[in-house]
Symmetry: C2
Subunit: 216 residues, 2 copies
């Protein structure tokens, strides 16, 4: 049986989420780097674009399943590899967990992603400072809401004291927040959970700096 | 037992997704309108902002569960109200279904949503034509990929011949595409499925024009 394949870019926060879950569940997988920046981006050219017409990473292949979209991949992993679960069994905790995931997955990351920032500069003629301000604004706005929810929901991790999918989304988004110089002092609950996660082996293995395609 | 409550705005495509599922599953619910535009938006002021600090609709309350984010709400409904299922049982179909949901949920809608368009105009000083071009661009880009996936996956509906969550996401996004004058002739698979869905009672009941807060 072939190993599952993960198409990934070291700095892609959406790929980072999936890497955390793969490592947490001890799934042996092959890492296939797709360079999102070099020569306009490998994700926008064949052969990768034939595989994933959305032209994004991550993309995950496992037997007859080939899918994009980090949330879809994460929920597939949860079904196929139930060891070390990341979705709470309790219905209320599960609902809160998925809400926090989506607050980041649809509420923050898409607005600050690479192609949107490129469009601001290349099509709307905005300067690099405006691009940076844009990313900072949307992450800050989303984190204000997230911090508010986490005040009630979080303990060591996003949802109480058990690691969940919400943590797989949180840490990569904090990584992006640091890149865009978001003032993280405003977010003590986010910081606490992020620091707790970064101590775990699965987050260290999934860290952008520790990927085979990492660059400075 | 109190009825579930849905905080919604007739034109919100994310609320529209949840309305479709509620009607398809014959769940009796109370509709609470939140006006997203009047006086800068009710979603950004108390008392609503206390309920949902993300300042968005939909928000759904059912017993002790109160959650935002349409995908989280839809997966909660699937667990609590398993009648008329919207998530395929087959793991491959389920993975494809969630991928298409997320292609819209995180890949298209967030970039063209109301607050991003407002920011382009109010903060970056862009004209209304640029705002319209921006929304059109991101919906078109996303639909090109979606059409490509649907060529292989769709029949009467997004995932073969059974209605699924992917259809709950598709129809509201086509509604937005029409508002932003996207050239829909390019997308025959999307059009076919959209037309099939619009014949169904649950989509008619969920239609923006048929909500208590509908306006011209």
């Amino acid at each position: 049986m072939n190993k599952p394949l993960l198409y990934s870019y070291f700095r892609s926060s959406c790929s980072y989420r999936v890497r955390v879950a793969l490592h947490y569940k001890n799934i042996d997988f092959e890492y296939r780097p797709i360079h999102l920046v070099k020569d306009g981006g490998e994700q926008l050219k064949d052969p990768y674009l034939k595989l994933n017409p959305k032209g994004e990473v991550p993309f995950f292949i496992d037997g007859d399943v080939g899918i994009g979209q980090s949330m879809a991949i994460l929920l597939f992993l949860e079904d196929k590899y139930p060891q070390n679960p990341l979705v709470p069994k309790d219905p209320l905790k599960k609902a809160h967990c998925l809400q926090l995931c989506e607050l980041i997955n649809s509420g923050i990351q898409p607005i600050q992603n690479l192609k949107v920032l490129k469009y601001l500069v290349n099509e709307l003629g905005q300067k690099d400072e405006i691009k940076a301000k844009w990313a900072n604004h949307w992450i800050t706005e989303g984190f204000i809401a997230l911090e508010n929810f986490m005040k009630d929901l979080s303990a060591d991790y996003c949802i109480g004291s058990e690691l969940s999918l919400a943590d797989c989304f949180l840490v990569p988004q904090v990584y992006n927040a640091n890149r865009f110089k978001v003032d993280m002092d405003r977010f003590p609950h986010i910081n606490r959970v992020n620091e707790n996660c970064l101590k775990l082996d699965c987050f260290q293995k999934a860290d952008p700096a520790n990927q085979p395609d990492a660059q400075n």
